[in-house]
């Protein structure tokens, strides 16, 4: 096993996961213009829902995954209705929303920890005996291949939705100007509600996939979310393709950055990249 092909494969897989989180985050940020940090905790919600249904009460794998996605989406919608919608109706500043989102994140991840303990858990029943493929000298597991494929599918789906569906256009309109969208007859509350549902469901899916790849813990969401946010910013915030581009770029920088040093530095590298981008190219690679 050569090191360079493996690093490339690892970078691509990391990029696929980050791109999913970035897509969901971008969807919410593009529409509502606020940093929904609570969104990260929904990755843990997704992961643990599957853990409960699949490993806990032994439901079929696919049903468990669908339930995981739906439940994270529903909780995301619920949080929006209970917390963010009233705050936005009151025209609260971005700071207020940010602090509320921090509260949501802290509360949700601790509730998950109370229900399932804060131990690290794996989702797959057959850890270690997974099918493994060789690609140009790098090793990729079946789960990782699924992550990659799903990442691309979701990106294409969101891209198509924005381009061809009325709903996608409504989201764009709300993102551009909420007041005017209301005037032309878009039910903005409902559109934003759907955006939260979709974004949160994507976060849940990302959490589930990470759970099958490595494992889940209640605090997994924060680092996942921050990577998604960093990817969105370096790619160009509010831009669907920018987020994906940023995610893969981040994946490569992180994995090649730890080539010679300890893997524990990954987070520091990611934030270093963020700060450099914010300083020198705050609009990101692709503009909205």
């Amino acid at each position: 096993m050569d090191i360079i092909p493996q690093l490339i494969v690892n970078s691509i897989i990391a990029g696929a996961i980050y791109s999913m989180v970035a897509l969901g985050f971008n969807l919410i940020y593009g529409t509502t213009k606020f940093f929904d940090l609570g969104y990260g905790a929904l990755a843990a919600v997704g992961g643990y829902t599957v853990f409960y249904f699949y490993k806990g009460i032994g439901l079929n794998l696919y049903i468990a995954i669908i339930l995981g996605i739906l439940i994270s989406g529903a909780i995301g919608l619920l949080i929006y209705r209970l917390v963010y919608a009233p705050l936005r109706a009151r025209k609260s500043s971005g700071m207020v929303l940010l602090v509320a989102a921090l509260g949501v994140m802290t509360a949700v991840q601790s509730i998950v920890a109370i229900l399932f303990t804060s131990q690290f858990q794996t989702l797959s029943r057959s850890a270690g005996s997974e099918a493994v493929y060789n690609i140009f000298g790098g090793v990729i597991t079946q789960t990782q291949l699924i992550i990659l494929v799903l990442g691309i599918v979701i990106m294409v789906a969101i891209g198509l939705m924005f381009r061809y569906t009325l709903f996608g256009k409504a989201i764009k309109a709300v993102g551009d100007d909420e007041e005017v969208s209301k005037i032309v007859g878009i039910n903005t509350v409902r559109v934003i509600g759907w955006v939260f549902f979709l974004g949160s469901a994507i976060a849940g899916l990302a959490g589930i996939l990470v759970g099958f790849d490595t494992g889940i813990e209640p605090t997994m969401g924060l680092s996942l979310l921050l990577k998604g946010v960093i990817a969105s910013i370096i790619g160009g915030i509010g831009n669907v393709y920018g987020g994906v581009l940023g995610a893969f770029l981040l994946g490569f920088i992180e994995n090649f950055g730890i080539w010679q040093i300890s893997g524990e530095w990954k987070d520091a590298i990611a934030f270093g990249v963020l700060i450099i981008f914010l300083l020198f190219r705050p609009q990101g690679i692709l503009r909205r």
Binding site: S92, M95, V96, L98, L102, T106, A107, W265, A268, I275
Partner: protein, 288 residues
């Protein structure tokens, strides 16, 4: 009694942290979420100096303040380029980076093993080894910091800070170099956090990176938001409430593992409720 003294010492330490962060968030209106990094640098510098050279605690604390001030000057300079949400995000980044340094610079910080055997402070041959005397020391330092903060915030310097918070452009039109003011208060605040770090290190006599995470910064933010932004009494009041509250939960009889998570849930819910119903906190004079 020992238990009450322990709680009181914690309140003093978090009171100092709250007062220091309030200068930046409450009075100057910069949403900084990186206070735990400066708290940690102060703690680490003190701990390393005390255990390796055996110098006097107060000298080590002073050096801790100086080193923290230098680092915070650089961080503050970078952060001063950002606004609002991006400011908060950038400050997140520095917290994560500094936490990674605590964790990974093992030759200096011993990484996750932490630094044990930090001696208690001594002055003129008297050692603050009993907790009651340590409490006296903490309260004296808390009092000093409190009056320092009051002096700063009621001075003409403090009025410029509030003006920056209300309308930075307007005050810069009057010829004030807002950058210098923002940097100065950021460095002062970091220095105060370093004092709290020194106290914490020598009180617990052991430190490891887990005390200085992003979650800790969010907790300090919760302290001042609950107490009230831009009010020095509020910062101390917030520390009293948020330290006492989980202790009450403990008496209700939750097992310690769940009690720790219940604490987090409470902080989260408090932040959400405050943002929804009372964004200025208990006695605050400024709304986010």
């Amino acid at each position: 009694m020992e238990y009450l003294i322990h709680i009181a010492i914690l309140i003093s330490i978090y009171g100092i942290l709250g007062l220091s962060l309030n200068l930046v968030v409450g009075f100057t209106g910069l949403l900084s979420v990186t206070q735990a990094a400066f708290y940690g640098i102060g703690a680490y510098v003190t701990a390393i100096l005390l255990t390796s050279t055996g110098m006097n605690f107060f000298l080590a604390m002073l050096l801790g303040i100086v080193i923290t001030a230098i680092i915070s000057l650089a961080i503050g300079f970078v952060l001063s380029k950002f606004k609002d949400d991006y400011y908060a995000l950038g400050s997140f980044g520095f917290n994560v980076i500094i936490y990674s340094i605590f964790l990974n610079w093992q030759s200096l910080t011993r990484g996750p093993l932490g630094i044990p055997g930090i001696p208690r402070p001594s002055l003129f041959g008297f050692t603050f080894s009993e907790n009651i005397w340590f409490l006296v020391l903490s309260v004296v330092i808390l009092g000093t910091i409190y009056f320092l903060c009051r002096f700063i915030t009621t001075s003409s310097f403090g009025r410029v800070l509030k003006a920056i918070r209300e309308d930075e452009e307007a005050i810069s039109v009057f010829g004030y170099r807002t950058l210098w003011y923002k940097l100065a208060i950021f460095v002062i605040s970091a220095g105060m956090a370093a004092v709290a770090g020194s106290l914490f290190a020598s009180y617990i006599t052991f430190i490891d990176p887990s005390s200085f995470t992003l979650t800790e910064s969010i907790f300090i933010l919760a302290v001042i938001i609950l107490g009230g932004l831009a009010n020095n009494k509020g910062a101390v009041l917030g520390a009293v409430c948020l330290i006492l509250l989980p202790e009450i939960l403990r008496f209700v009889g939750f097992p310690s593992d769940i009690a720790a998570q219940m604490r987090q849930v409470t902080y989260g819910v408090i932040l959400i409720l405050l943002m929804l119903y009372r964004p200025q906190g208990l006695v605050g004079e400024y709304r986010l």
